[in-house]
Every structure is written in structure tokens, then in C-alpha cells.
């Protein structure tokens, strides 16, 4: 019986290790304005998450799983965030927004906003027991049409085949979503001065 217990325990530990997120190398921003940490940007208007996925078979509450964690992380980093309910996209589809240039994206959101944050979900691929999430984030200055920050977060959750994979399948999707938002936020610099 002891052997059985040992076997079960060791296999559980092994599976947990394999399911754990990949090695945590710091994620760098694709583009960041050199003075983002100190320049005056006012409130950051966070637009609703743009679902620009080609394959939308994985159903996810993007506000709850992506937008809310990102808003919290930005607040922790010293940004003043205002969540917007509408993209103000004037009929453009999410797919079109996903392919817009930063200058075109600056036309989104409320007209009075100065700084915009646009989060685009490019892909969520779930294969029973593995999941990959790809998100891109932009912080834009609407007045100068300048990209203040652009980052990318990829959450690639490893899984196992067979029964274990089937049982914990939905958890890998959640873990991949969490990893992708964490990685994206890693690339956003912290504010060093008061916002105003």
C-alpha cells in the first residue's frame, strides 16, 4: 500500500511540474517610448478588448479574463485607468481593428481621451489539454498619434495527453490566459512620477 501511495504522490508531483507555466524569462516590450515612465499622460482610457481572432471556437469572457486583470495590473504600476464600454469604432469589425495601423487606432475611443489602451486578442488555440493565447497591447497618444507602448503576451500552457489532459483541460485555458496577461503586463514600464 505504501508503494501505491508513493507512486500516486510522485506521479501527481510530476504532472503538476509539467503543467506549471514555462520558464519565466522577462518579457520585453516591442516598442516603448523612452519617456513613458515620467511624461504626463493623464488618464489611460482602456477600451473593451478587441476580439480579432480568426478562430473563435474557444468561448472566453474577455472582460473578466483579460481586461479586468490588465486594468488591475496597470493600476498597480501607477497608471490611472478608466474602463470604457465602447470602442467607438464607427462600424469597423474587430478583425479590421486588429489590422489597423496605430494612427488609425488613435481614432477609436472617446474624443476627449488623450491616452488610449487597446488590447487585441489575436489567437486562442485550445486543443483539449494544451492552450495558447496571444494578445497584443497598445498605449497610444491620441493627440500626437504616437505609440507610447506596444507589448505582446503569449501564454502557452503545456498539457498531457490521455486521461489527465482531459480532466484538467479547462484549467490549461485559464492558466494560458493568465500567463498571457501577466507576460503582457511585464513589458509595461512602471510609472515613476505622479500622473499629473
Amino acid at each position: 500500500m505504501k508503494i501505491t501511495r508513493l507512486f500516486v504522490n510522485s506521479s501527481f508531483v510530476l504532472i503538476c511540474t509539467l503543467l506549471a507555466p514555462g520558464c519565466a524569462t522577462p518579457n520585453r516590450a516591442i516598442l516603448v517610448s523612452p519617456d513613458l515612465q515620467s511624461r504626463e499622460i493623464g488618464d489611460v482610457h482602456m477600451l473593451p478588448v478587441v476580439d480579432a481572432r480568426k478562430d473563435t471556437s474557444v468561448k472566453v469572457d474577455l472582460r473578466q479574463k483579460i481586461m479586468n486583470p490588465i486594468c488591475s495590473a496597470m493600476k498597480k504600476k501607477g497608471y490611472s485607468v478608466i474602463s470604457e464600454c465602447s470602442l467607438g469604432a464607427d462600424g469597423a469589425t474587430p478583425s479590421e481593428i486588429g489590422e489597423m495601423t496605430p494612427a488609425e487606432m488613435c481614432r477609436l475611443g472617446p474624443s476627449e481621451a488623450r491616452t488610449l489602451c487597446v488590447i487585441i486578442v489575436e489567437d486562442i488555440a485550445s486543443d483539449r489539454n494544451t492552450c495558447k493565447v496571444e494578445i497584443v497591447g497598445f498605449m497610444l497618444d491620441k493627440t500626437s498619434e504616437e505609440v507610447l507602448w506596444k507589448g505582446k503576451g503569449i501564454g502557452n500552457q503545456q498539457g498531457q495527453g490521455g486521461l489527465v489532459g482531459i480532466i484538467v483541460g479547462h484549467l490549461t485555458t485559464l492558466a494560458a490566459l493568465e500567463t498571457s496577461t501577466d507576460r503582457l503586463m511585464q513589458s509595461l514600464p512602471e510609472r515613476t512620477t505622479p500622473k499629473r
Partner: protein, 242 residues
């Protein structure tokens, strides 16, 4: 009698332990053997507001084939990648030849404007340059907002063509995904998106558009076959499937 009961209890415990061991071994074996990595098959998608059938459209009329717009980037940081690294050498020729073949099947005449012709006719060159500048906007917008309309009308008057076929490809180069031999699985991060859009030169209206998305590189055979599928009408596709 007591001894026999004790022996029986020991036997039962051993059997339970053996069964538990076998069950654990089965669970672990199925866990580690893996089920192979399944890459999502290419998906041919309808572009919103462009769901018309290509068959019967512009039959007998000329269509200008524009060279495809190619973009190759690395998935993790969007840094430029080479066509060779992305397994996309010759993809532009394949896209053009597929379009030429498929449009011809639908009765359209394909018009390809070479460099010499462009150099000989400055007006043609200027119109084509305008279209090339607005390529990505023309490929994606559903409302035209007169983008490039003047150039398109000029192009129609010079060439006599009724429409232009624009194509684009975006390849993201990532890793290949899990190894089936070790049983450890993860999703590959490479993908290919190919778009084709037929735009009326008279009105700037998007007559037809299709998109192909595949979570693999263009060198995958399935990408090439999906390229042909893009031009198939729904009715024909159903017939083929049956």
C-alpha cells in the same frame, strides 16, 4: 481458522494494492504516451459583408492581378523574418498562379501588368502606385470611403479591366509545438493568414473576399490546398465534400 482469516485479509490487501498499482500505471501511461499534436486544419473564412459566390461573377471580363502583399514576422516580438525562414519561398508565385487558374475557371480574363508596361505608361504606373500604397486599407475595410477610387477608375479606363484582385499573406514564425515522442505537448505559435479580395474598379466596392487561416507555416501542404479552396464557391465545396 484465525490463521486462514489473516491469510485471506493479506491476500485481499495485496489484490487491492495490485489493482491500484495497475490503475495508476494505466493513468500515467495514457498521460505520457500523448495523443499527438493536432494542428488546427486550415480554415477558409468568409469576410464580413463579402459572402457572394465567385462563380458567374464578371464572366468574360478582365481582372487585374496585383502582386500579393507579403508580411513575415516573428510571433514573440513581431520582428521581421525572412520568407525562407517562414517556409514561404515561392509563395507569391503560388498565390498568383492559383488565382490565375481559379479565376480562369470562372470565366474571367486575368491581366498581369509587368514592369515594362508600367514604365512605358506613367499614368498606369501612378495609379498602381496609389493602389499599392492603400493596399492594406483596401484589403480590410468594408466601407470604401472612396479610398483609391480615383486611381481605380483611371486604371479601369487605361486597361479596360472591371476589377482588381488583391491578395495578402501574413506569416507569423513561432515554435513548432510539442513533441509527440516525449508526450509533452504545447501549441505551436506559427500561423499563416492569406486573404484575397476582388474589388470593382468602377465603384470601389468589394465584390468578393475570402480569408484562409492556418496554425502552421505555408510550407505545410494543407496551406497550399486551402489556397485553392478559397476560390471554391459554397455549392461546389458541398459537392466536393459529398
Amino acid at each position: 481458522m484465525k490463521d486462514t482469516r489473516g491469510c485471506r485479509r493479506v491476500n485481499v490487501e495485496n489484490k487491492v494494492a495490485a489493482v491500484a498499482l495497475v490503475m495508476c500505471a494505466c493513468v500515467l501511461a495514457t498521460s505520457f504516451c500523448g495523443c499527438g499534436i493536432s494542428v488546427t486544419n486550415p480554415m477558409v473564412l468568409d469576410v464580413p459583408n463579402s459572402g457572394r459566390e465567385l462563380g458567374g461573377m464578371l464572366s468574360g471580363q478582365s481582372v487585374i492581378l496585383m502582386p500579393p502583399q507579403m508580411l513575415f514576422v516573428r510571433t514573440e516580438n513581431e520582428a521581421p523574418a525572412s520568407a525562407q525562414d517562414c517556409g514561404a519561398s515561392g509563395l507569391d508565385s503560388l498565390m498568383l498562379s492559383t488565382a490565375r487558374e481559379e479565376l480562369a475557371k470562372k470565366g474571367m480574363k486575368c491581366l498581369e501588368i509587368d514592369k515594362e508596361t508600367r514604365n512605358r505608361t506613367p499614368e498606369l504606373e501612378a495609379s498602381l502606385q496609389d493602389l499599392e500604397r492603400d493596399y492594406s486599407v483596401l484589403m480590410r475595410t468594408t466601407s470604401r470611403d472612396d479610398v483609391g477610387l480615383a486611381s481605380m477608375r483611371k486604371l479601369a479606363s487605361i486597361t479596360g479591366a472591371s476589377a482588381v484582385l488583391m491578395q495578402s499573406v501574413r506569416v507569423k514564425l513561432g515554435d513548432r509545438g510539442g513533441r509527440a515522442d516525449s508526450g509533452i505537448q504545447w501549441q505551436g505559435t506559427s500561423s499563416t493568414t492569406i486573404k484575397a479580395s476582388l474589388i470593382s474598379l468602377a465603384s470601389g466596392e468589394r465584390l468578393w473576399a475570402k480569408e484562409m487561416f492556418c496554425r502552421t507555416l505555408p510550407s505545410d501542404d494543407r496551406c497550399a490546398s486551402a489556397l485553392t479552396d478559397m476560390y471554391k464557391d459554397q455549392q461546389n465545396k458541398k459537392g466536393d465534400d459529398q
